[in-house]
């Protein structure tokens, strides 16, 4: 039985969100998660699909998923940078813009000036000052500020990874934690900063471990050092206090940080560590028998436990028959979007590809994605290429004639 989402909801196709909600509410009383889990899952999918349908109808411009500014269109993005303060409210600016001549406006002008003069260190200091002065106090304002800075830096094409990593740090970035929803306007710019941040962090961790000749090479050292020096994460810190090996290493690192200025533990982490230690909450337990998943140490022949994390692209998704609006190309777009931030070493060429993709129209883009995936699937099944999770890598081979003809519709590389 293959019901359409509208059959499940019990209404005719509509873009009226209120009507969809009402239908959902009515159906929910009959198929509640409590009494009919399977029915509820179907209803839920139909409801989400219907809301998607209604939402897409509302979109007026090109799809919002890929609203990355092309580096060439600086003019436009500068406008956006200043929209905070512009006197005529831009459509999405009504939320943040304030009628008074704002300190926010001044902040952006100064930042912009520093960047165009190439005063990079001053730029970092300025960003820090602005954050500390709480010029942007509500969550929305803070987010917009961070997003705008990320966008500004993306557009200025500064390739200095170290500097961008430091900027991310100043902005309070956390590794692999994009504060913007996938597809929102700052998502890409911010994820670019996150890459630089991760690179900076791991380079620093490795460099540091080499200076600690006595314990730097011990198992777990890199991890413990990384958790202690990374932005606060209670789950991971707590995990350190519950393992004897980790706890011992962490105590040494915390102790050394008191005398060694090269070991910088964020005050949040130090504070937490000392407070929980004082309160008697560090209770390291002996580790259970090594639960190592790597074959080399598990005692099993390697081939027995290796598995391949291959997610078959058209893999079975429960109830996807109930969501006809999610087309394969949308699915692929989603996967690509996931692929970009998780590739650990995004090369400059990759970045370029993504920027070029951002400059072409939706149809071309989707066609390029599909092509990219087809090519990759082909290499996957032959088992020779660099395979893995589809979220990991996405390459467009410009020598491929089909790819080249599509790429020609995009703007040329700057």
């Amino acid at each position: 039985m293959n019901l359409s989402i509208w059959d499940v909801l019990g209404i005719a196709a509509t873009r009226n969100v209120r009507e969809i909600k009402r239908a959902y509410a009515t159906q929910l009383r009959v198929t509640s998660p409590e009494d009919d889990p399977a029915g509820y899952m179907k209803l839920r999918d139909a409801y989400e699909a219907a809301k998607d349908y209604a939402r897409h109808a509302e979109d007026t411009g090109p799809d919002e998923i890929f609203s990355i500014e092309h580096p060439d269109s600086n003019e436009e993005s500068n406008d956006e940078t200043n929209e905070e303060s512009s006197d005529e409210p831009a459509p999405e600016a009504e939320v943040r813009s304030r009628p008074r001549p704002s300190p926010q406006r001044q902040a952006f002008q100064e930042l912009d000036a520093l960047l165009s003069e190439g005063k990079l260190d001053d730029f970092l200091v300025k960003v820090q000052t602005i954050l500390e002065a709480q010029t942007f106090s509500t969550l929305d304002e803070q987010n917009d500020f961070i997003g705008e800075v990320a966008q500004l830096v993306l557009n200025s094409e500064i390739e200095d990874t170290e500097w961008r990593g430091r900027l991310a740090e100043v902005l309070g970035a956390r590794e692999r934690d994009n504060i913007f929803a996938e597809g929102s306007e700052y998502w890409y710019a911010y994820s670019e900063l996150l890459h630089s941040y991760s690179e900076m962090k791991s380079a620093a961790t490795i460099a540091h471990a080499q200076t600690q000749e006595d314990i730097g090479a011990r198992p777990g050292y890199l991890h413990v050092y990384h958790v202690l020096t990374a932005p606060f994460d209670s789950e991971r810190l707590m995990a350190l206090t519950r393992s004897q090996t980790y706890h011992r290493l962490a105590e040494i690192i915390v102790e050394r940080s008191r005398t060694d200025p090269a070991i910088v533990i964020p005050p949040e982490n130090r504070d937490w560590w000392e407070r929980t230690a004082m309160a008697g909450q560090h209770r390291p337990a002996a580790e259970p028998a090594a639960k190592n998943t790597s074959s080399s140490s598990s005692g099993f022949p390697g081939w027995m436990i290796w598995i391949l994390g291959m997610l078959i692209l058209n893999g079975i998704r429960m109830c996807n028959d109930a969501s006809p609006t999610r087309t394969t190309s949308q699915e692929q777009t989603r996967l690509l979007l996931e692929a970009v931030p998780s590739a650990r070493d995004l090369t400059p060429e990759d970045r370029l590809t993504v920027r070029r993709l951002a400059s072409c129209d939706t149809q071309t883009r989707v066609a390029l994605f599909s092509l990219g995936y087809k090519r990759r699937e082909a290499t996957d099944t032959s088992g020779t290429a660099n395979t893995g999770s589809p979220r990991a890598q996405f390459h467009l081979d410009e020598n491929d004639p089909a790819v080249a003809s599509l790429l020609a519709k995009c703007k040329p590389p700057p």
């Binding site: 959902y24 509410a25 929910l28 998660p33 409590e34 889990p37 509820y40 839920r44 939320v95 106090s137 509500t138 969550l139 929305d140 987010n143 692999r176 994009n178 504060i179 913007f180 929803a181 929102s184 991890h223 606060f232 209670s234 789950e235 810190l237 707590m238 519950r242 005050p267 949040e268 504070d271 407070r275 929980t276 230690a277 004082m278 309160a279 008697g280 209770r283 337990a285 259970p288 639960k291 998943t293 390697g302 081939w303 436990i305 290796w306 598995i307 391949l308 994390g309 291959m310 997610l311 893999g315 079975i316 998704r317 099944t381 088992g383 660099n386 395979t387 893995g388 999770s389 979220r391």
Partner: protein
């Protein structure tokens, strides 16, 4: 009879749905809040709640508190010569609540809805169910705490249509949920949280600063204070924390080794010392908003829940972050328990609630560990492949397909993780499975892994070998934080053997414990005076005349009140 229980880090409550509304049940001491503190007294009998909390000061070695933080771990707490896991201590609190409810309802209580922090993981949830079993309660449903609060708030404003954020800062955990209310439907859209952030941390921060600044006077190592001093300071810090809620300054006085150390603190100082904690509050809010794809100004209301939201600095921060004042119409201590009571009525299909439906989400992603080939005979393992995405509506069921990576591979090993990091080492291991597959060349054998997440927030995994169609419903095992069924039965028996005081004696125990605590906190002549009163009261109790005891108890309480008032 089905009841709703809020099993908190600091306090626990029990409620039920009567006369078409949720109602909280008072304990033997006439309070709805039962401190989540467990101890044994000098005769080896169990003490739960208020008397145990008093004894944290006088008998720290015989008392345990804040054990909720250790749910789902193998940690054991020492009470005298006995050792207990967090589940067992929680079970003792649950048992005490159950007795209160039975006394109130006049009927046996065998089923309960228990609330857990939304951000509790699979292991912690299983531990909570085990605690219920140990207390002789069948856990009908685990309910996320902010969802419970949303239920209480939603039922009270049933006709409204709104989207609100529940900001739940309890004693030990912090949760944020974004909830939409329309047509009698209460829908959670996104939840996020921090399992290690609560009112206790603000208190401990005060303790830390106090001990640091007075280390010389006290002659201690501020990072390793003696347990008795720590407990004493914690109590004083708690009092100061509360006092600073209404007055601009407060003085902390700690007696240690016959000397009083006093320390004056202003509300502004307190806030400055807690700056690091306050910053941590913003992140879960940000995450929840991002996952719900909302800006904070689209929220109609901010609902504050949990005792720690009474702190002015927390309210101030919320006001700043959202650019407006939070709602004030609910009691932050009681909202969760009231919501649990509402859920018990929903579950029992109470006619008063027949138009209400609530839906919830799972706040974190879950998946398996995979390896990928990165070259000729070269593999990279430790990669996380999520199957269920965070903030999916529950119940939910999803399938992904994985295949073999080596020729003649006979087994597929599936470690199961929870978390958001692309590398499994940064996520939480929930357990692991092994599946046997036919010997074939690499890539030719595959398995479908189905994850089903139920309304309790518990995960079930089903694996199907694609080539043979062989299905295996596998139980996740080998997680050290989860008790096995046999172990639960064994411990259930052991707990039942523990000596307990008859209910009508508890009030006396509590007053005695309080007197002992005040004795510990006092000096010199006052101590003698307290001792005299104690001896007298004990003598009265020994005579077993109810009326006389009640009278003497009242006198002793007045005396103690007087001491605390003038201090």
């Amino acid at each position: 009879m089905l009841v709703g229980i809020d099993l908190g880090t600091t306090n626990s409550l029990i409620g039920t749905f009567v006369d078409d509304k949720p109602q909280l049940i008072k304990n033997a001491y006439g309070e709805v809040l039962t401190p989540s503190v467990v101890g044994v007294d000098d005769s080896g009998a169990l003490l739960v709640g208020a008397p145990a909390r008093e004894r944290l000061i006088s008998h720290p070695q015989l008392t345990a508190a804040s054990f909720k933080r250790y749910m789902g771990t193998n940690q054991e707490f020492e009470l005298g010569n006995q050792r207990f896991r967090a589940e067992e201590l929680s079970a003792m609190v649950l048992k005490s609540l159950k007795q209160d409810a039975e006394a109130f309802l006049g009927a046996p209580v065998s089923e309960a809805i228990i609330t857990v922090p939304a951000y509790f993981n699979d292991t912690q949830r299983k531990a909570t169910i085990a605690a219920g079993k140990l207390a002789g309660l069948h856990v009908e449903r685990l309910l996320n705490e902010p969802t419970a609060a949303a239920l209480a708030h939603g039922i009270a404003n049933r006709s409204a249509e709104s989207t609100f954020l529940v900001f739940d800062l309890g004693g030990g955990t912090f949760d944020v949920s974004i909830v939409e209310l329309f047509d009698g439907i209460i829908e959670v859209h996104a939840s996020s949280g921090d399992n290690f952030l609560g009112g206790d941390d603000f208190r401990d921060q005060l303790v830390k600063v106090f001990l640091g600044e007075n280390a010389e006077a006290l002659q201690i190592d501020p990072l390793k204070p003696p347990r008795a001093l720590l407990e004493r300071t914690m109590r004083q810090a708690e009092l100061v924390k509360r006092a600073l809620g209404s007055s601009p300054t407060a003085t902390m006085r700690v007696n240690w080794e016959e000397k009083e150390t006093s320390w004056e603190l202003s509300a502004a100082d307190f806030e400055k010392h807690c700056e690091q904690l306050l910053t941590r509050l913003a992140r879960p809010i940000q995450q929840a908003l991002r996952d719900a794809r909302m800006r904070s100004n689209e929220l109609d209301e901010i609902v504050l829940v949990g005792g720690a939201t009474r702190m002015p600095m927390v309210r101030k921060l919320v006001t700043k972050l959202f650019g407006r004042f939070p709602a004030v119409d609910i009691n932050p201590d009681e909202a969760i328990a009231l919501g649990a009571a509402v859920q018990s009525a929903l579950k029992a299909r109470n006619a008063a609630l027949n138009d209400v439906v609530m839906t919830d989400v799972c706040p974190y992603s879950m998946g398996v560990e995979v390896s990928r080939q990165i070259g000729e005979k070269k593999f990279e393992d430790g990669i996380y492949s999520p199957i269920l995405e965070r903030n999916s509506h529950i119940p939910i069921s999803r399938v992904e397909r994985y295949h073999t990576l080596a020729d003649k591979q006979t087994q597929i090993h599936l470690p199961i993780y929870q978390g958001e990091n692309p590398l499994v080492k940064n996520n939480i291991l929930l357990g692991e499975l092994k599946v046997t597959v036919p010997k074939k060349p690499a890539f030719e054998e595959s398995v479908d892994v189905r994850f089903t997440y139920d309304l309790n927030g518990l995960l079930e995994v089903e694996v199907t070998v694609v080539s043979t169609g062989k299905k295996e419903r596998l139980v996740i095992e080998g997680n050290p934080g989860v008790l096995s069924r046999e172990e639960i039965n064994r411990r259930f028996e052991a707990l039942a053997q523990l000596k307990q005081h008859p209910r009508d004696e508890l009030v006396n125990k509590q007053v005695l414990a309080r007197a002992e605590r005040i004795y510990e906190e006092s000096l010199g002549d006052l101590r003698d005076l307290i001792t005299n009163n104690l001896v007298q009261f004990r003598a009265v109790v020994a005579r077993q005349d109810r009326k006389e005891i009640a009278h003497a108890r009242e006198q002793l309480e007045n005396f103690l009140n007087e001491i605390e008032r003038t201090r």
